[in-house]
Amino acid sequence: MATILKADNLEKIYRVGKVDVPALRGVSLAAQEGEFIGIMGPSGCGKSTMLHLLGGLLTPTKGRIVIDGEDLTAATDAKRTDIRRRKIGFVFQRFNLFPTLTAEGNLRLAERIQGNGADDPDRRREILRMLRLEDKMHHKPLELSGGEQQRVALARAVVNRPAIVLADEPTGNLDSENSEIVLNMFRELNDRFNQTIIMITHNPEAAAACQRIIQMRDGHIV
């Protein structure tokens, strides 16, 4: 299996007024293609910071990140955005769907952002079908349950076939029943399509779905 993500000695220091706050203190990790990795740790340990760094939403104070052969840390902001667009799909705790668009519209937006004239209605429907949302394609987020919204968010994250899906507490706002459904979807994506997933979670059930767990504390991997 190829190494799809490699992060070396990541440090991230936030400047808060006149005080430097270290969020990450030299974190290294590697993910193989098709791995389903969970990151756990107490609040404030740096999990979200690391996820944002891996997704190119933040730049590290020190260290290096390579995703699918492309150096994220050496890239300009425009290049980082480009890598994120092609290689990474995000799933957030708060779903973060566009409320004015339907389920299919949210996926279509992801395709339009991808550019290159991408417009594959068959693929959109296939993904929505796989996530048991084929009869919800034309519904807006307000018309969907929490679990359904998160599945749409997951569908949006994978519609462009990213190298990695980064999920930030995807079951954090869901009840146990919907959490189970969403986690099963993550497992299915990983099993059937060899999708690489890195997921932050506090949920032991979610952690159980992962192939590997990384524990963090105080900005370190323990």
Binding site: H52, G55, L57, L58, A78, T81, D82, R84, R85, R86, I88, F90, F92, N96, F98, P99, T100, L101, T102, E104, G105, R108, L109, A110, I113, Q114, R156
Partner: protein, 363 residues
């Protein structure tokens, strides 16, 4: 259509409507004012060009656009007729009086036979004025519910009967006999100016010179010089229109800028999501610009409709003519769209530069 641009506009219908109206206002102002200004100017031009006389003889200081002095003696009429090269002469009194919605109207006193013959004007309905209480009007005035036999008030309360309708339109829209107007103004043997028609138009300058030599101290002008610059003789009209255009553009831009700024502040998290999805700065700016342009385009259409409606209403209520000008329509369209695009640019650029992590966390 499952489009972010369209759905964003529909999500806030009241704000979108206000933004559209803001752009529409700028467009309508440009179309309405230029339409009325050009309508008035072209109408004056048209009526002025239906004067066959090459020379106007008057007292110094007369014949500005609003001049209505009756201080020229009609004794000059037979004297001018004797000047070499003169074919015919006819005196005219021009009088302005308070009237109607616009506040001012115009009537001319003429010797109908010589006037109509000189300027190729004919009565198309009814007859020329014969009695002191009769008046003739042009087709535009007649169309405003003044058929032959109806009455019109001039000088406030004085009622005149419409004896006839003449064409083509020339000078004031209403004409009465010179004697009648002289009596009404208590100015016997006086007129405002005298039209002089020459035998050979190519000799009009020479004839004008002869008249000046024969009657020094008066004002002699060629009609081709006066009537060619109607628009320029309305003080500051061109400047006024240009200032109006600039103000309209500023209004449109400011309205859109404010609307987009508010929209973007409300949608900060959505912009963070777009960035997380890999939307480039260019994509984010172009989405916001497309939304602004769509609002501006709708505002443009509404503005044209408002201007057309207002112009029609003003024309119905007054004698002002609204003239649609393709050139000004294009200018108004450019103002609406450019103003919208420019107004949205600053908020769009700010949105594109938002920190994605902070934007995602925005409540």
């Amino acid at each position: 259509m499952d489009s972010l641009v369209v759905s964003n506009i529909r999500q806030r219908p009241l704000r979108s409507a206000i933004s559209v109206l803001g752009v529409a206002l700028g467009v309508a102002l440009v179309m309405l004012f230029t339409g009325l200004a050009h309508g008035m100017s072209d109408d004056l031009q048209k009526r002025s060009s239906n004067v066959s006389a090459e020379i106007i003889f008057t007292r110094p200081g007369s014949l500005q656009l609003t001049s209505a002095s009756v201080n020229l003696s009609t004794k000059y009429v037979p004297l001018l007729q004797q000047i070499e090269g003169v074919e015919s002469v006819t005196p005219v009194i021009r009088h302005f009086y308070a009237s109607g919605a616009f506040g001012v109207d115009q009537v001319e006193g003429v010797e109908w036979d010589s006037f109509s013959k000189m300027n190729n004007i004919r009565i198309i309905k009814g007859q020329a004025p014969r009695s002191p209480d009769e008046i003739v009007i042009d087709e535009t005035k007649a169309a405003r519910n003044h058929p032959v036999g109806s009455t019109i008030k001039v000088f406030g309360d004085k009622v005149y009967r419409v004896a006839g309708i003449y064409a083509p339109e020339s000078g004031a829209r209403a004409k009465m006999s010179m004697a009648t107007l002289q009596e009404a103004l208590e100015a016997p043997d006086k007129c405002t100016f005298i039209y002089v028609k020459v035998k050979n138009p190519s000799e009009q300058v020479a004839v004008a010179k002869r008249i000046d030599e024969a009657f020094p101290g008066n004002k002699i002008q060629l009609t081709r010089e006066i009537f060619a610059t109607i628009e320029n003789s309305i003080p500051g009209l061109t400047i006024f229109l240009r200032v109006l255009v600039v103000l309209a553009a500023i209004v449109s831009a400011l309205v859109i800028m404010l609307a987009m700024h508010t929209t973007i502040t409300e949608r900060t998290r959505e912009i963070g999501i777009l960035k997380a999805m890999g939307a480039s700065r260019f994509y984010i700016i172009s989405e916001i610009e497309r939304e602004a342009l769509l609002i501006s385009f709708i505002g443009l259409l509404v503005g044209f409709a408002l201007a057309a409606g207002a112009g029609f209403g003003i024309h119905k209520a007054t004698s002002l003519i609204f003239e649609f000008s393709p050139r000004w329509a294009l200018t108004a369209a450019a103002i609406g769209l450019l103003g919208g695009a420019l107004g949205a640019f600053y908020p769009a650029a700010r949105a594109a530069n938002l920190d994605p992590v902070n934007a995602l966390a925005y409540e």
